[in-house]
Each structure stands twice: as C-alpha cells, then as structure tokens.
C-alpha cells in the first residue's frame, strides 16, 4: 500500500491543493480580530516542522532546539536582536577593556530561575566554565580564547588570551547560556531557565508547551501559553491552519501563499534569514578537483529560477548572507552563463561527466530537479541520491564520501567552516584562514569586516562550493496575532512580544 500511495500521491496532491483552495472560501468566518486588545489569557498554537530529538541544550545539535529554547526559556548574559545587534540580557551592563582582552559583566539582580532559585554570578561562572571544559558540549570550541572566568561581587570578569571579536556574539548562542549550578533536572526532557517562558510539557512526537513565566525579571510574556505543534506534513499544516487549529505556521511553503491567505485569516510574512542553500563540492578527487569544472557548475545553475521556484528568498553567490558581517554581492565570481560553463568544461576536458548529488530527503525535489536540468544543459549528467539525514551525516559530513551535496546551513556567522580544512567542504586555503584570524583579532569594525569580505571573496573565487539561494523565513501569521518574529525564524524564534487579540 505504501508504494502505491507514494506514487499516486505526487500526482494527486496538486488536484487536492486546488480543491482545498476552492473550498477554503466556504470556511466559517473566524472571530474578527480587534487590533490592540491583546488577550493575556491567550493560548497561541504555532506549527513547527522539525522536532528536536531531546532537549539537551548543552549537547544536542540542531536549530530546532535553539529555535524554541534560546531566548524563550534559556538566556545568556547577552542576546541578539532581530537585526542581529547584541544587547545585554542577564547582564545589566558590560564593559570591554581597551586592549579587548577583559570583559566585565554586571550580573542582573533579582533574576530567578523557573524553579524559583536565584541567579548568582557564580551560576554564570559555572555555566561558562562547563561549556569551555566539556568538549562534547555544543560550541565549546567557541570559548577557546577564554583564559579565565571569575566572579567578583555582582560582576563576572572574563579574560581572553587574545582579542576575539566574535566572543560577545558567541555568548548570544549556546556557549553563553546560563544554567543553575548544581541543578538536578534531566536536561534531556526538562528545562530550568531564566527566560520569559517556562517549559511546561513535552509530548514527544506531538508538541511542546511553553507557559508564561510569572516570576520573570523583565516584561512578562503577553500570552499565557504557547503550544508548539510539530507537523512535518505541509498539507496537514495548511489544512490545520484553514480549520483554525493553528495561529502561526512556520516553515511554510511560499508557493502556497494564495491558499493560506484565501479566507483572510492569515497573512504570509517573508523575512530575511541566514539560511544558505549550500551545494558543497568535494574538491579532493575526480573532475571536481579541477577549479574550472567547479566554476562551470556554478555558471550552469540559474539561481534566479531556483528562487522563483521556491517562491521566497534571494540569490546568493558567496559564503556570507546579507544579514551577517562581511557580506558582498559576489555574482561576478560565477554569473549564470551556460555557454561559458560549456567552454570551461571543454577546456578542462570534462565533457560528458556524471556526478552524484547527495541530498537529505526532507528538502524535497524542487532544487534537485532544477540542478539536474541546468547541469544537463551543459553536458553534465547529475544523479540524485536522496538519503535520510543520518545517512547524509555519516557519508558526507563525517566520511566526506561524496561528490556534490546539498544542505541548508541555517546558522548565522558560520564562516569559520571555510577555515577548517577538516570540514566536509574539503576547502583548504591558508590565505582564507589567515584573513579570518585577522578578522577575529581586529579591534575596529570596518577593518575587521574588510578582512572577512576579502576572505569570502577568495572562497567564491576559488569556486569552493556553490550557493544556490539565501532562504527566507516563511511564516503565515494569523491576523489576530502580533509580535511574531519575522527574521531568521529557522534559527531563533523569540516569543517575548507575541500577542493574540481576543
């Protein structure tokens, strides 16, 4: 039965979607929103796509975890705003010494954890030290430059061994989260943080419930409860939204805009993101070792048509997206030009080659179909190998056993991967590594970003990989909902301002 359904499903989904949009006009009208009267007792149901395997914020990788727990449940001394600025959070203020080596944070007073215990400077010291000392903790390496962390009265003083301009940014991520020293909760299934929400319930394979933290130190959350519903299937998400079961649908398919907006209950909101659709090329062997072949592939792919097919996002021609420092338009390094691509392939003696693309199956087929057709136009036969994500991690990420690979890298400011020769990108250019080191050590913004720009340009000129698109955050927001974040929601989803009208 399985085989039959999958084959027929593809053909019939289209018909179903049409019917769905036709019917949605007949849906019962939902209570009209009165703007400006938020309901403090509201429950907001948010559809999310991917459920984390467990809730261990220290060890378990994945944006699915950052998205829900960072900012909402766990906080650090500093955090990031939607426009990627750094602001004090559990620190009431911070200062940096003139030599950029000593960071002094004044720990905010009157902060309690969800279980009622008070936040102390010692908790901060312990939290940072734990991350630094445990190699298995996420982002442990990001505190590599930290020489010492000490509490001094209400202050915490962090001394670096060398200037590190990414240090404060790193503290806005996993590495900087502050947990309670000696906490006995099982982090895999529970959480005890200082954020505006407390983790009330996790129904595995179904939903996570956050509730307003009534003893929160800052402005209290505007809704009583947020239910994060994990619904992998896009059609189920659409039906659920049209039936009034969700207030917000994240990770939506922008091409279904008309359907979800049909009865006026939702508006599709597109926001910028740091999602980079990365076509990695293994340059260690085969025809891809030749830079001309890699450039030919880049010039053969029509990025504009990919963005059009996805219905959202923008083109990207280098390793750094617009939201991150160091961005520049690098289209000139490989403009779309199939004829030039053919010539490059001829020069490299690589006409009529066959390459295999390894792609995790959850990305669907839109991108790979365009790649197959674009590359076919210049004489490259592309075989698509759809695999489960763990298989991708094992084959591509760990064993580097691949030719071409596609993955959406969502993390902000992750240029460092291009400076790590052991990373699965297989890219090793000492000049890039040097430029990045200069960026890290630079104390002046303009100089620093100049280094980063140069490094990114080199990566693109070396044709180290291709960037198929810079994704957008695609969220359908109920018309009675305000304050839902729009930027980079795949990585962070701060719900502090979320409100729902009566």
């Amino acid at each position: 039965m399985l085989r039959r359904t999958t084959v027929a499903a593809a053909a019939l989904l289209a018909a179903g979607a049409l019917l769905l949009s036709a019917c949605s006009g007949g849906a019962a009208p939902s209570p009209t929103a009165t703007a400006g009267t938020p309901d403090p007792d509201a429950t907001v149901a948010i559809r999310l796509v991917a459920e984390p395997g467990n809730l261990d914020i220290r060890e378990t990788a994945g944006a699915a975890l950052d998205q829900i727990l960072v900012d909402n449940v766990y906080q650090g001394l500093v955090s990031r705003t939607p426009d990627q600025k750094i602001v004090d959070t559990l620190a009431s203020s911070h200062t940096v010494s003139d030599d950029d080596l000593t960071y002094t944070f004044v720990v905010r007073e009157g902060v309690t954890f969800a279980d009622g215990q008070a936040l102390t400077p010692q908790d901060v010291v312990w939290s940072l030290q734990q991350v630094k000392d445990n190699a298995s903790y996420r982002d442990s390496a990001r505190l590599a430059n930290v020489a010492s962390i000490v509490a001094n009265g209400q202050e915490v003083v962090v001394t670096l061994s060398a200037p590190d301009r990414t240090f404060l940014w790193n503290l806005t991520g996993r590495a900087g989260l502050v947990l309670k020293e000696g906490d006995t909760i099982d982090r895999k299934t529970a959480a005890n943080g200082t954020g505006p929400f407390v983790l009330a319930d996790w129904k595995q394979g179904d939903s996570i419930t956050l509730q307003r933290n009534d003893v929160y130190w800052g402005e209290k959350a505007k809704v009583k409860e947020v239910v994060l519903d994990y619904v992998p299937d896009t059609q189920a998400a659409l039906s659920g939204a049209l039936a009034g079961e969700f207030d917000v649908v994240t990770g939506f398919d922008a091409t279904l805009k008309d359907q979800i907006e049909a009865n006026g209950d939702f508006a599709l909101v597109l926001g910028k993101s740091t999602d980079k659709g990365t076509l990695a090329m293994n340059s260690t062997k085969g025809p891809l070792a030749d830079k001309r072949v890699r450039q030919a592939i880049r010039q053969a792919i029509d990025k504009k048509s990919i963005v059009e097919a996805l219905g959202a996002g923008q083109t990207l021609y280098g390793p750094i997206p617009e939201l991150d420092p160091g961005y520049a338009d690098l289209e000139s390094t490989a403009p779309f030009d199939p004829d030039a691509a053919k010539k490059l392939l001829a020069d490299a003696g690589a006409e009529d080659i066959t390459l295999t693309l390894t792609i995790p199956s959850w990305y669907g087929t839109t991108v790979s179909q365009i790649l197959v057709s674009n590359l076919n136009d210049v004489g490259i036969t592309l075989k698509v190998n759809q695999v489960e994500f763990p298989t991708w991690i094992n084959d591509v990420y760990v064993n580097k056993d691949y030719e071409l690979s596609f993955v959406l890298h969502t993390e902000a400011r992750d240029f460092e991967n291009w400076t790590n020769p052991d990373y699965y990108f297989t890219y090793d250019n000492p000049k890039v590594q040097q430029l990045y080191a200069s960026y890290i050590a630079a104390t002046d913004d303009d100089t620093a970003n100049g280094f980063l720009k140069d490094a990114a340009k080199l990566v693109a000129e070396d044709q180290a990989a291709d960037w198929l698109y810079n994704g957008a955050s695609v969220v359908a927001v109920g018309t009675d909902v305000t304050g839902f974040p729009t930027v980079n929601t795949n990585e962070r989803m701060n719900l502090a301002d979320l409100a729902k009208s009566k």
Partner: protein, 316 residues
C-alpha cells in the same frame, strides 16, 4: 488441541528469537548513528567519539545484542538513547492513539465489508451487485494520502465538524474530542481496507453458495438466502478471520502513513522519528513488540480456526 497449541506456541517463541536477531542486524546496516545525529553539523570527531562512548555505542555488536536480549528476558525492552524513556512506557503512551485508531479502522472496514460483500455476492449478475463490486474495486484503488486529504477538506476545513489534524494534548481525558480526532484517519484507512476486505467476503460467500451443505439445506426447503445465512455464513466468517489476522500487519503499516498525514502522536510516527534519529535501542524494542503482536495475532487466528471449525479437529 493442547498439544497443537503448545507446538504453535513454541514456534511463536522461535519466531520471536529469529526476529530479534534479524531486527538487530538489519538496523545495524543503516548508515549513521545516534552520536553523529546528536553532535550534528560543526561537530568534531572527538565530540562524536565522546558521545558514542557515553552512550555505550563503542561496545562490540555481539555484546550489545546479548545485553539487549538478556534485558528482554528480564522484562526490560530497553530505552531511548536520546531521552532515556523506556520503550514499554513509550509504547503504552503512543498505543493510546494507534490501538484505538486500528480498532476503529477495523470496525469500519468490517461494517462495510460484511454486508456489502454478502449482498454483492448474492446479487451477482444483477445490476446492483455489479455496481457494488465495481465500486469496491474503485475504492480499494484510492490512495490513502489523497483520500485523507479529501476527507479533511470536506469535514474539517469546509464543514468544520472534525479536527483537521492532531490529537488532543490531554489525550483521552476528553473522550469525545479524542474520538473525533481519530475519526477521519480511521475512516480513511477503514473505507479503503473495507473495500479490499469486501472482495474477500464476496468470493468467500460465492464459494459457500456452491457448497454441498448449502445446496442440501436449500433442497430441504430453505430459500437460497436462508440456507446461505444459516449454514454458509459460518464458513465465510472463518475465512474472514484469517484475512483480518493478515490485515493487522497492514493496519500497522498504514498507521505509519496516516499518522504522518494527520499529525497523530502514535506508534507509526514514533517509529519513523526514531529511525530518523538512529535511536536504535528504541527502534529495535518497538519493532520486536510489533512483530510479537503480529505473530500472536496469527497464533490466535490459528487457535480460533481450530476451535470453530469441526473439520480441522476431526482431521487430527
């Protein structure tokens, strides 16, 4: 009869043992492991190794297998490497969705198949009988995904009578809501399975009509319908029990699709997620229980046959 049951019981245990080895080996062939999944992108080899060691994945495979089987013999099915939750508690929890869903689909399937199957057999050659069997053929060919979506569009989105997806967070605390959440998925599976089952009922009924004892009963003065209902149907029932037994496995497989489609927190969706996370100790425990369940149903079907069908007892 007792000897028969004992032999069959021993075979069942042997089957479970073979299944445990097969499940264990097959899962180990899958590329990737849970430590890599936990560590994710940006992980260093050292980080992966540290997690692997903490989870006990560095032990040799035969040791892992023996540990697992001896756990089972002590009544411990194992637990998740990701959350520490025990397989049995997870199955009990997710079973609250999948078991009622399976029972409801089966009930719907039988309610459709029995009357319509018998009628279409008895009306063979008539226009309504033909219409019924053509209708069943068509229904049985409808893909589950499409059928489910159409039902959702009409009953949830359009009419707003039933939930479009999901299961209440409070579970069966609100029985009516829980029941209504399962209704559309159950109808989706039930109608399609029922249409398939109907063809079995129809052919079993036709076969029964031609049996000597039915003809004899008719010759003794009963009408054809009376003869069939009184003497023919018990034999139809027997073959339907066999088919139903086989369909248990089909419904478990169907739940994998339907729970995804309707976002139901059941066993099928859990299995997909666990395989996707390479949480192998959990997957192998779940698969063994499911296999055991299917084997036990088969065992029960055999015993029921034996009890109900005098011909089999006499043959002994």
């Amino acid at each position: 009869m007792i000897r028969y049951a004992l032999t069959r019981g021993a075979l069942l245990l042997l089957g479970l043992f073979v299944a445990s080895a097969l499940i264990f080996v097959t899962l180990r062939v899958l590329p990737g492991d849970v430590a890599q999944v936990i560590a994710g992108l940006n992980a260093t080899p050292e980080q992966i190794a540290a997690i692997r060691e903490r989870l006990g994945l560095d032990a040799p495979l035969p040791v892992q297998y023996v540990t697992w089987v001896s756990g089972i013999l002590r009544g411990d099915l194992g637990s998740s490497l990701l959350t520490g939750a025990s397989v049995s508690s997870e199955l009990v929890q997710k079973g609250q969705v999948t078991i009622p869903l399976g029972l409801m689909s089966m009930t719907i399937a039988i309610l459709i198949a029995m009357p319509f199957g018998v009628i279409s057999a008895m009306r063979r050659g008539h226009r309504d009988g033909t219409l019924l069997s053509v209708g069943a053929q068509t229904l049985a060919a409808v893909p589950v995904v499409w059928a489910g979506m159409m039902l959702v569009v009409v009953f949830a989105v359009w009419l707003g009578w039933l939930p479009a997806q999901g299961f209440p967070r409070s579970g069966w605390a609100d029985p009516s809501l829980a029941f209504r959440s399962l209704l559309l998925p159950a109808i989706t599976i039930g109608v399609i399975e029922g249409a398939m089952l109907m063809r079995f009922v129809r052919s079993a009924t036709l076969q029964a009509t031609g049996q000597d004892f039915v003809r004899t009963a008719a010759a003794k003065g009963l009408t054809r319908t009376q003869a069939l209902l009184r003497h023919g149907l018990p034999t139809v029932g027997l073959s339907i029990i066999t088919v139903l037994g086989l369909q248990v496995a089909g419904i478990i497989v169907g739940s994998v699709v339907i729970e995804q489609l309707f976002s139901l927190p059941g066993i099928g969706r859990m299995l997909v997620a666990d395989v996707g996370a390479r949480d192998l100790p959990k997957v192998q425990g779940e698969l063994l229980v499911l296999t055991g369940f299917v084997l036990i149903v088969g065992f029960a079907v055999d015993l029921v046959h034996r009890t109900l069908d005098p011909r089999q007892r006499e043959a002994e």
